[in-house]
């Protein structure tokens, strides 16, 4: 069946099965920036925003997201026009293989919108649903802290 989705502020009409997860629908339709790690709701590689909240898209039946605003990591910044978080993740060494990065960046983005000045503990808590096998998390937390600092010093919008 054909269903309309609002993905990254664009209406997309996609052919889906009624039992498809949002993760599969997104990846099958070219949104491969959304990664599939565990399919169990445990690794956070598949995180997207639904109505501005982080969710594991592998744990969401796509039909239930049809009337909602969905945002993938490309919805906040692209290769040629990256979001400050994406730039700082790269320059801090917060991504190595990069598999966890889309989910990490979206969790951090959601945190900074709600809490512009998070403590290290608050950053770690906000990233509690994101696993990274490469970095050991230190650089990731540093990148989020640096982004918050730069945003606050330069009054940059968190959008």
């Amino acid at each position: 069946m054909k269903i309309k989705f609002n993905i990254n502020s664009k209406i997309e009409e996609l052919e889906i099965r009624p039992d498809a997860t949002l993760l599969n629908v997104l990846r099958d339709n070219g949104f491969t920036e959304v990664k599939c790690g565990c399919s169990e709701g445990e690794c956070g590689a598949c995180i997207v925003l639904i109505d501005d909240k982080t969710v594991n898209s592998c744990q969401v039946l796509a039909m239930s997201a049809a009337s909602k605003k969905i945002k993938t990591v490309k919805g906040i910044g692209t290769l040629h026009n990256p979001h400050l978080l994406q730039k700082i993740f790269a320059s801090t060494g917060a991504d190595q293989c990069g598999f966890c990065s889309p989910g990490m960046v979206l969790s951090a983005y959601s945190l900074l919108k709600e809490n512009p000045n998070p403590t290290e503990k608050e950053i770690a808590e906000a990233l509690d649903g994101n696993l990274c096998r490469c970095t050991g998390y230190v650089k990731i937390i540093e990148a989020v802290r640096r982004t918050a600092q730069i945003m606050n010093e330069n009054l940059i919008s968190r959008e």
């Binding site: 997860t21 709701g41 956070g44 649903g129």
Partner: protein, 274 residues
């Protein structure tokens, strides 16, 4: 695998939703996290609750009303921002992870009541009630909802009703060896004092045989008395949680750990824990 003819419904009223789930194979969809795990072929229809306007938390006459579509994440945020519902807010903040908490709903988590539930032990300890609708509306204490078997019948959970918990002293424990694992059991302890005397108490554990146990005999030991180490020792004789062994932990191990935690939490409240 779901049934290939799975149909979705998005009713805008509770009577319409209830009417739909009266049909065989049609069930409600809250966050969908449990439905996705089970993927039963017998499910032929999913009734999404998103248009039923059940995404509210309201306070009225010392009671909090939490709608079935509210997520764990929303309760946690509300509890922090409004400095209320502290026991429930803390318990739910420890469940799963931030993105999972943004998805799982109160309604789905009550009806489903998994062994690892972070929700049910505090709700029982807080004497919460649940409003359900199965053609007509009923408000039932959560404990009775589970023990009477009502939980297994077809109905819509509309909301939970929780008394204000400002004047209680509470402790909770989500026991797991690794934080991101499903908890092995959850304990909730509540005391209400009248001056220095215990006026009300609740000791609850979930994850046990028969899903939950409330230790009424142990609670009664404290009534209208000062909380003391001696009474705690007496009460511990009546705190005997029974578990089922699983592929990771024996029942004996779980029973021993649960008893130790109960005693530690009680001593902590009494202020005698080193």
């Amino acid at each position: 695998m779901f049934n290939e003819n799975l149909k979705w419904y998005f009713p805008a009223s509770i009577p319409k939703a209830v009417q739909l789930i009266e049909q065989p194979g049609i069930i409600l969809h809250g966050g969908g996290t449990r439905i996705l795990k089970t993927q039963s072929r017998s499910i032929i229809g999913l009734v999404d609750i998103c248009n039923l306007k059940l995404d509210y938390i309201k306070q009225k006459n010392n009671l909090y009303h939490v709608g079935a579509a509210v997520t764990f994440g929303k309760v946690v945020k509300f509890s922090k921002e409004n400095n209320c519902l502290s026991m429930l807010g803390t318990a739910l903040s420890e469940a799963a992870s931030t993105p999972v908490r943004n998805r799982i709903t109160i309604g789905g988590s009550i009806k489903d009541f998994p062994l690892w539930s972070n929700l049910i032990a505090p709700l029982i300890a807080l004497d919460a009630k649940v409003e359900i609708n199965n053609g007509s509306s009923k408000i039932i204490p959560i404990e009775e909802y589970i023990t009477s078997g009502m939980i297994k019948t077809k109905h819509l959970v509309k909301e939970i009703i929780i008394p204000e918990d400002e004047k209680i002293i509470w402790r909770i424990k989500r026991f797991t060896l690794l934080k991101f694992e499903y908890p092995i059991f959850n304990i909730a302890i509540k005391f209400k004092f009248n001056g220095s005397l215990v006026h009300d108490a609740a000791f609850v554990i979930t994850g046990v045989k028969n899903r939950f146990k409330r230790f009424n005999k142990a609670e009664n030991i404290f009534m209208e008395k000062n909380l003391s180490e001696k009474l705690i020792k007496q009460a511990m004789k009546f705190i005997e949680p029974k578990f089922v062994s699983d592929y990771k932990y024996s029942s004996a191990y779980k029973e021993k750990v649960a008893k130790i935690i109960f005693e530690d939490l009680l001593l902590d409240i009494a202020g005698v824990k080193q």
